[in-house]
Each structure stands twice: as C-alpha cells, then as structure tokens.
Symmetry: C2
Subunit: 112 residues, 2 copies
Amino acid sequence: MANSKLYKGSLNTIILKLLDEQGKMYGYEITQKVKALTKGELKITEGALYPALHKLEAEGLLEVEVAKVDNRLRKYYKLTEQGEKETVNRLAELEDFIRSMQQLVNPKWSIS
Amino acid sequence: MANSKLYKGSLNTIILKLLDEQGKMYGYEITQKVKALTKGELKITEGALYPALHKLEAEGLLEVEVAKVDNRLRKYYKLTEQGEKETVNRLAELEDFIRSMQQLVNPKWSIS
DNA sequence: TCTTATGCATAAGAAAATTATGTATATTAG
DNA sequence: CTAATATACATAATTTTCTTATGCATAAGA
C-alpha cells in the first residue's frame, strides 16, 4: 500500500463524514467506499477500522443496529445526535489541516 | 492546539520539503517557518521535531553543520544527495494523499 | 474444491506523536 | 533590576493510532 503511513489521525473523521452523507453504513462497506472514492489510493485496514468504530460508539458518537443479510452478519452504524455535532467540528478541522498541508507542500495549488 | 492529532505521518515530508526549498535550516527555524506558512494552524512540537531530524540524519537523508550565533548553538540541516531523491518520492506520495483526502472530505474542491 | 469475496473481531507490535522535563543564553517589559 | 519571554537544543515517559497477523464464519465463482 502506498500511503500506509500517512493518514493517521484522520480515520475517525473520514468515518464520521461518510456516515453523515450515507446515513448508515457497515464496516466492510466503509472500506470499499473509501477504496472506490480514492481510486484505490487509500485502503482502510480492518485492524484500524473496527477498533475505531467501537471507540466512536463508546464515545457516544455512533450507534449500532445489527442486521442479517444473506445469512451474514452486518453491523450498521449511524451518527447519534452528538455525533452529528462532532462531525461538523472535526470536518472543519480536517479541512483546515488539508489547506495547511497544501500551503506547505504546494502553495501553487488553489482551492475553488 | 487545534490540529494536534492530525498531521501524523507527514512531519518528515514537511521537513524534507522545507529543506529542499530553503537550502538549510535549523530546528527552531523550521518550527517558526511552519507556523508562519500555515498562519499558526500547524505547530510542530520540539518533542516531535528533534527526534525526527535525528532519525532523518541517521537514515542518511540529512547532514548537519553546527554553528554558533550570538553565543547560542544552532544545528543547520540540509539534504544529502540521497535526501534530495527521497524528497521527490515522498512529496509525490504526500500530494497523492492530500488529493485523496480532499476527494473524501470535499469532492467539490478542485485543484488547479 | 479451492480461492476470493464478504463480514466481523482482537492481540501484538511498531510508529509517531504529545506532554513534561531539562539545560542554557538573549532580549524585552515592568 | 528582575522576571518573563524568546531562542535553541535534547530526551524520557506515555499515549494514540496505526500495521500485521491471526481467527472465525458464510457465499460465490473459477
């Protein structure tokens, strides 16, 4: 994997953002969605994802709903009310961060 | 600090990039430069910076030159030949990463 | 029938920060 | 004059957040 060491710290925000726009998602679905959106550039490993989901749930930002599809288990996660508020803050922070990174690595880029 | 948990993994590349364009810099100067470039958004802590510089030096990407200015010590770092090559690769990787993050958090943004 | 895909989970270890110190000199403000 | 801030380096303890390696189980495709 190319960017294996790069996205530390932003995984939680990515999860929140995806749930915010998709309504509800299950773990495996999240890994596939990220892979698709970034054209394979970013791959979320299960070892990172599941603990992250559990932690966000423990923090009260997510809630779970278990479903059984095709005899296989799925755990759908969605934002709680508190989760929606936090998503706004964390997304703003992440966007600022991305802007800052751009400023550092390539000041010629502009955002429109 | 706002983004304290966000820039993990990219510090090394930021250091390399700055040294690439500035020629040589010393540690404290790097912290100030990053603060200035990002308008205070990103603050590199000394606890992160100095070990990172030492590690990059140990990897053969940086070389040091000690100077005394105003009776105070300064350690100027600059890229080795190998460091310049690595900078190209790591910068490209970081730029890809930034693009991917944008794709995830704000697909409406475009880069020009 | 064997591999790949789907779907969850956790444990061990590594990487990369934060936080808290420590040392020392120079400058600025009260 | 003296206390606080800025400059300049460094490291140790701890925490956070990943990677890697497993493990279990069902479904689909070659």
